[in-house]
C-alpha cells in the first residue's frame, strides 16, 4: 500500500524527521487560506498529491492546467489560488503513472525552504539477500540513468533485519556525499529515524528525494514516499486508515474486498479468471500473438468460498470492455467444483452474454465439468491453456 506525500511526512515527523510546515487543501480558496497561515509572505511550494514519483517533471493532460508540472514554486498570494485551481481536478502524467495519469484531488501547500545541499536517500527491501538496503546518492533527478551508467554514484549499505545503524556507516555517507563532518550527529538522527520508521511500520520502501541541508545543518525531508507491506497491514490499523480509495480503480477495490487480485490493462477484449498470477501472465503472453489482447484478469488464488468466487467472477462479467471470458483453473488448494458453482451463480445474477471458455485441471476436475455441462450455460470446455485460447478466439469471431 502506498500513501501520499503529506501523510508520509506526518509519519516521519513522528520519528524525529524535520519537515517543512505545510497543510493539505482540496479547493483553491482553502489553498490560499492555509498558505497565509503557513507563511504570510511566502514563497510557497504547491504540490499535487498523487501517489507517484517524478511529479515535478510530469505533464498535465488538460491544457488549462498550464505547462508546469505537479510541483510548483509560488511567490505571490494571488498565484496560490490560480495555480491550485489549475491543478485540482486535472490529470497528471508522470514517468511512473503510465499514460493514463492520475487525477489530482488535493494539493499540499508548504513553506519554501532555502537549503545549501540536497541528496537522495531511501531504504528498500533487497529481496535477493534478503535485507534492508540503504541507498544514497547526490543525484536527485536522473537516478535510474545513474544506476545503469554510473553505478559508483550510488552508495549501498545492506542492513540485516536485526542490525542498527552505526557511526561507521554514517561516516561512509558523510564522505560519500561530502557533507560537513560537524553535521554527523544530525545525519545520524535523521537516518536512524527513517530506519526505525521502516522497521516499526512494516515498510517496504521509504524514499526521500530530496533531503535538504539548511545553513544550520538541519536535515529536512523536502519530499517523502512510503510504501507498506500489504501482508502486514493487519498489525497497523492506523496506517490502513490512510488508504486512499481514489488511487485505485473500482474493480480493483471490489476484488480486494474479497481478497482477490485484479489487474486491468485497458487495451484488450479478453477477461481471464485464473488461480495464480503466473497463469494469467502466461495466457497474456499467448494472446499477445493473436488478434485479441487480454484486458484484465482476476486471480482467485486461495479462494475457498463459492460466494466469494461468484462475486469475483461478476467483476469480470460486468466489465463492459470484456467480449470473451477464459477461465483457467488448475485446482490444488482451490477445488474446481467451487469455481463451477461460482460461475453458475454469477451468470444467473448478471447474465452471460459473451463467449465463455473454461478449462479445469486438478482437484475435483471431473465433478466441476459435470456441474457446468449439466447447467444450461453456453460454456465451452477446453483441455489445455492453448486449447482454451484457441476456442475462445474462435467463439469471439463467430459472435461478432
Amino acid at each position: 500500500m502506498n500513501i501520499h506525500e503529506y501523510q508520509a511526512k506526518k509519519i516521519l515527523n513522528r520519528y524525529g524527521i524535520n519537515i517543512p510546515v505545510g497543510a493539505i487543501a482540496y479547493t483553491p480558496a482553502e489553498a490560499k487560506r492555509v498558505a497565509v497561515n503557513i507563511s504570510p509572505k511566502g514563497p510557497w511550494m504547491l504540490k499535487a498529491q498523487i501517489q507517484s514519483g517524478a511529479r515535478a517533471n510530469g505533464k498535465f493532460v488538460e491544457k488549462n492546467a498550464g505547462k508546469l508540472g505537479g510541483i510548483r514554486y509560488i511567490t505571490g498570494r494571488k498565484d496560490i489560488f490560480e495555480e491550485a485551481e489549475k491543478m485540482l481536478g486535472s490529470t497528471l502524467v508522470t514517468e511512473q503513472t503510465g499514460s493514463k495519469g492520475k487525477s489530482v484531488s488535493k494539493v499540499y501547500v508548504e513553506q519554501h525552504l532555502t537549503v545549501k545541499q540536497t541528496f537522495y536517500i531511501s531504504l528498500v527491501i533487497d529481496r535477493m539477500i534478503p535485507c534492508i538496503t540503504l541507498l544514497v546518492t547526490e543525484e536527485t533527478t536522473n537516478i535510474v540513468d545513474a544506476v545503469i551508467n554510473k553505478p559508483e554514484k550510488i552508495l549501498r549499505i545492506n542492513l540485516d533485519i536485526n542490525e542498527q545503524i552505526n557511526n561507521n556507516q554514517i561516516n561512509r555517507i558523510i564522505n560519500f556525499l561530502k557533507i560537513d563532518k560537524k553535521y554527523a550527529k544530525n545525519l545520524k538522527q535523521f537516518v536512524c529515524g527513517i530506519h526505525k520508521a521502516f522497521i516499526q511500520l512494516d515498510s517496504t520502501m521509504i524514499e526521500i528525494n530530496p533531503v535538504g541541508i539548511d545553513a544550520k545543518g538541519n536535515f529536512i525531508a523536502l519530499d517523502a514516499k512510503i510504501s507498506f507491506d500489504d501482508n502486514a497491514l493487519y498489525r497497523h490499523n492506523d496506517i490502513l486508515r490512510l488508504h486512499d480509495d481514489y488511487e485505485d480503480e473500482d474493480r480493483v477495490l471490489k476484488a480486494a474486498k474479497y481478497g482477490f487480485q485484479y489487474r486491468e490493462f485497458n487495451d484488450g477484449s479478453v477477461g481471464c479468471i485464473v488461480n495464480g498470477e503466473g497463469v494469467a501472465l502466461s495466457i497474456k503472453d499467448m494472446l499477445f500473438e493473436t488478434d485479441e489482447k487480454m484486458d484484465c484478469f482476476l486471480n482467485v488464488k486461495g479462494g475457498v468460498d463459492k460466494d466469494k468466487i461468484s462475486a469475483g467472477i461478476k467483476i469480470i462479467m460486468t466489465n463492459p470492455r470484456v467480449e470473451g471470458i477464459l477461465i483457467n483453473i488448475l485446482g490444488g488448494f482451490l477445488r474446481c467444483n467451487l469455481v463451477a458453482d461460482g460461475i453458475i451463480a454469477a451468470a444467473s445474477e448478471v447474465g452471460l452474454n459473451v463467449p465463455l471458455v473454461v478449462r479445469f485441471e486438478g482437484t475435483n476436475k471431473d465433478e466441476a465439468q459435470e456441474i457446468l455441462l449439466s447447467s444450461n450455460l453456453p460454456v465451452l470446455m477446453a483441455d489445455t491453456m492453448q486449447d482454451g485460447v484457441a476456442k475462445l478466439l474462435k467463439a469471439m469471431k463467430e459472435s461478432d
Binding site: Q51, G98, V144, V147, L330
Partner: protein
C-alpha cells in the same frame, strides 16, 4: 532416488486440525505419504484422521523422528511455526500459506541461516515425488513417475509444467514449487544443485516469472557447473510492462530495469533452452529424447 522426499520420509503436519489441512492430509495419506504426526496446540494426545496429534513440533519430532513437515498455519503464525521447526531440527519444511509479512520473512531467513532446516515456500504447492509421497496441495492425478525434475517460482504454473512433461510422454522425478511470495526460503540454485546430485533426474524444467532476480542467480550457478544436465526454461510475463511504480528505489536495487526479455537472455546465455510459450515446453522436451 529423488530429491528431499520419498515414500520413507517421515512427515508431520503442522496445524493438522484445520479444514484445509484435514482435506489435504487425507489426500497425502491416500497418495502414500508417510504421515507420522500432526501438531495442534491444546489438542495433544488426541487422534485426528487416524494420526497422533501433539501440542508442539518438538514433542512430535521427539516421539516420531519425523524429518519433514508441511505447514497449514495462517500467514501471520508462520514465523512462530518455523521457529519451532528449526528448534526441532526438521530437515525440510513446506509452507503453503501465502502473504507472510516481509519483515517476518527476513527474520525467518536469519533463523534458518546455519540451521539444519530447508524452507520451501511460502505460497507454494509443495514437493511431490510421483508414486511415492506428496508434501503439499498438488493435484496428484496429473503426476507420473519419470526423469524430469520440475522447479517453479509460479505456484499454479507448476501444474502446467507437469502437464507439459506428460504431453511429451515423460514423467517427473520430483516436482518443487519455490513459492510465489516476494521472499522465499529456497531459490533455484539450491534445487538445480540437488537435481544434479539426483541419479533419477535426467533433465530439469525451470519455470520463472517477472519480478526479482531468482532466475538470474539460478542461471549464473548453472553456467558455472562443469557437468550439466539439460535445463528447459520458461519465464511468464513477457508482455507485461511494469507501470504504476512508486519512486526509484526498486530500479536501483536491481541495478536497472529488469524485464522478462533480459531474464530470457540471461537464461539462454547460461545454456538453458527457453520456451516462448508454456504450451510449447513439451516440444523442447521431446527434442531431448
Amino acid at each position: 532416488m529423488s530429491v528431499f522426499l520419498n515414500k520413507n520420509t517421515k512427515v508431520l503436519v503442522q496445524g493438522i486440525t484445520g479444514t484445509q489441512a484435514s482435506f489435504h492430509t487425507q489426500k497425502m495419506v491416500a497418495y502414500g505419504t508417510k504421515i507420522v504426526a500432526g501438531v495442534s496446540p491444546n489438542r495433544g494426545g488426541t487422534k485426528h484422521l487416524g494420526v497422533d496429534v501433539y501440542n508442539s513440533t518438538i514433542e512430535a519430532v521427539k516421539a516420531t523422528k519425523a524429518t519433514a513437515s508441511v505447514m497449514f498455519v495462517p500467514a501471520r503464525f508462520v514465523k512462530d511455526a518455523i521457529k519451532e521447526a528449526v528448534e526441532a531440527e526438521l530437515e525440510t519444511v513446506v509452507v503453503i500459506a501465502s502473504g507472510v509479512p516481509i519483515k517476518d520473512m527476513m527474520e525467518i531467513k536469519a533463523m534458518l541461516k546455519g540451521s539444519k532446516t530447508l524452507l520451501i515456500g511460502p505460497n507454494t504447492p509443495g514437493i511431490i515425488t510421483p508414486d511415492e509421497a506428496c508434501l503439499g496441495i498438488f493435484p496428484e492425478n496429473i503426476h507420473k513417475k519419470g526423469n524430469i525434475g520440475v522447479v517453479s517460482r509460479s505456484s499454479t504454473l507448476t501444474y502446467e509444467a507437469v502437464i507439459e512433461t506428460t504431453r511429451a510422454g515423460m514423467g517427473q522425478s520430483t516436482v518443487i514449487g519455490l513459492g510465489d511470495d516476494m521472499i522465499v526460503g529456497t531459490d533455484f540454485v539450491e534445487i538445480i544443485k540437488k537435481f544434479h546430485e539426483d541419479n533419477n533426474t535426467k533433465a530439469i524444467l525451470m519455470i520463472g516469472r517477472q519480478g526479482g532476480m531468482y532466475e538470474e542467480t539460478g542461471a549464473e550457478y548453472y553456467a558455472g557447473l562443469k557437468y550439466k544436465k539439460p535445463i528447459i526454461g520458461y519465464i511468464a510475463g513477457s508482455t507485461i510492462s511494469t507501470q504504476d511504480k512508486m519512486g526509484y528505489a526498486g530500479d536501483i536495487i536491481t541495478r536497472g530495469k529488469i524485464t522478462t526479455e533480459s531474464k530470457k537472455e540471461t537464461l539462454q546465455k547460461a545454456g538453458i533452452m527457453v520456451a516462448d510459450s508454456i504450451n510449447r515446453i513439451h516440444q523442447l522436451l521431446e527434442n531431448l529424447k
